[in-house]
Symmetry: C2
Subunit: 361 residues, 2 copies
Amino acid sequence: MANENSANPAAIRHLIEGELAIFLSAQKKYLESIGSELTPAADALSSFLLDGGKRLRPLFAYFGFIGAGGTHSQEVIRACASLELLQACALIHDDLMDGSDTRRGKPAIHKHFEKLHNQESAVGSSVGFGQSAAILLGDLALVYSDLALHQSGIKSDVLPQVLAVHDEMRIELMAGQFLDVYEQTRSSHTVERALTIARYKSGKYTIERPLHFGASLATTDKNLLVDVTSHYSSYGLPLGEAFQLRDDLLGVFGDPELTGKPAGDDLREGKRTVLVAMAQESMSSADIKEFESHFGKADLDSAGIEKLRSIITDSGAPMHVENLITELTNTAIQALDTPSIVEASRQVLSELAIIATKRNL
Amino acid sequence: MANENSANPAAIRHLIEGELAIFLSAQKKYLESIGSELTPAADALSSFLLDGGKRLRPLFAYFGFIGAGGTHSQEVIRACASLELLQACALIHDDLMDGSDTRRGKPAIHKHFEKLHNQESAVGSSVGFGQSAAILLGDLALVYSDLALHQSGIKSDVLPQVLAVHDEMRIELMAGQFLDVYEQTRSSHTVERALTIARYKSGKYTIERPLHFGASLATTDKNLLVDVTSHYSSYGLPLGEAFQLRDDLLGVFGDPELTGKPAGDDLREGKRTVLVAMAQESMSSADIKEFESHFGKADLDSAGIEKLRSIITDSGAPMHVENLITELTNTAIQALDTPSIVEASRQVLSELAIIATKRNL
């Protein structure tokens, strides 16, 4: 059973979701023992975590573990599942900061609590209540990710090195988020800066660091660890970039049915992505002027979105980005060709590379 | 040296601040290695943490450690200092949620970044940038508190039990904060609910849990741990309540010079404290009407503040609260009278009880 599972990402995803459900149900009970007013908070977090998500970070962590010679266990599934709670914090706070009101086709957390406030005709500002609830639920999800990891039952000899990778990953994430927020306040932009932001905010955090996290769960042999993590970086860094570039394309051209976000959401929010920076480098000055007059306008309508899309397409950037994604994904997959990574995991990581960067993500 | 220090809260506070400064300086370097745009984030966090603060939580943790039989070490100072980073997260997010623009006589973090944005005539909304920066700096401080604890060098045999206390403390804090935010949206209030919120948001988190955290650093002997933590609860729970009641009084009547917050800040923010709930229970219906017409109004002027203060004073609640503080503090100090807590620590905890609840805090 363990061996069958350990080479099957769909089965592992299922196990991860099972552990998340058990964890959240226990936490809901605990919150309700403090006060029944916490039920909506527990429910919102459960629904946010269980009603969707590709579980990419836990999957990379798990197959990073298997690839470094680890043997399947429930404890490791739990530890890997904890990364999904960290991701919940990142998304809840990100949606609030971006003013992004939809997530997976449903109201974002701040919008959900704003609506609850309105429905109850409660005292004070609905918007303010929604914002506060989203700040606190993000904080709670961050603490839960720690708790889930600490309670997972992983061996105490690997715990310190696992915590070290986990901390580094989270600091990189917050630093990348800060750079992103700061970049939106600048009047000029470069592809290079956009790449740095994407690398920290998303690429490393989604692929390279989860693989390292998994490896650190597998062995305390320093030489083995240094060797396998360096191969994981050779795979994870280009793949992380490709993943982010696909996200950039989906944010502009993606089908709302598949992205769970409104069409052209990144254009309305004025996200300074690598795609946008590349497009701007190749635009005529007339196009730049036209572009900047619509980009980031909260009331952007579908005609405005089409206009921006066609300017971006005309710049040639989307085709260039598609080629880059293919190239980076190939580089990543080639980096798997090493005996340092256990065979069964190499096959799955090769599949996950396609899943993380495919068009209809 | 160690023995002298270990019974002197001022010396311990000094050591805690030294470790915080070293930690933050190393983290600043790391952030700047990612991007120089992160310098203002690192500086703001350093200034927030180093330019003030009573270090109550680290002090209770440290003397909880000594009281449970621990021997002074730099590693333990570092572990206790990490609680100050958690407190930074709580304050930064709290100020943002409350719209409280001043902290220790200086702009709150969201206001600080709003001002930076204005000074640079940067693109987009200054208020939005300030909010996003505060969300991310709070998140970063939360992750830093983990990192500081993990890197402290405490022994690996106590690590799992320390993490367990730490997680429980943080979940209680976030739950208390959520209850508080929710309470502000209700149209009726009770003393009982206000007490529950104060207990989770502030009382347990400031005193009882830091003591437990310290005890869990000191010994892996389960019997000893159960015994000493139960005495710490007998001391910490009433003292936590007294601490919060003092905070309620200061929020209404405190001197801005001493609180670092504008006069009557809690009245302007409409904070539903235990003091306010008690006052309302004893107000005439005319006073309740008058009170509610001013309470929580953002444009409340000094005449309005005086009006609210005199209604509260007339209710008799402040005198009742003063008596309660004295009673609870005495109960706490009496609970120290046990050989289960090491003598040197009992003396200091008795002093800290006065410091945490005195009028000119």
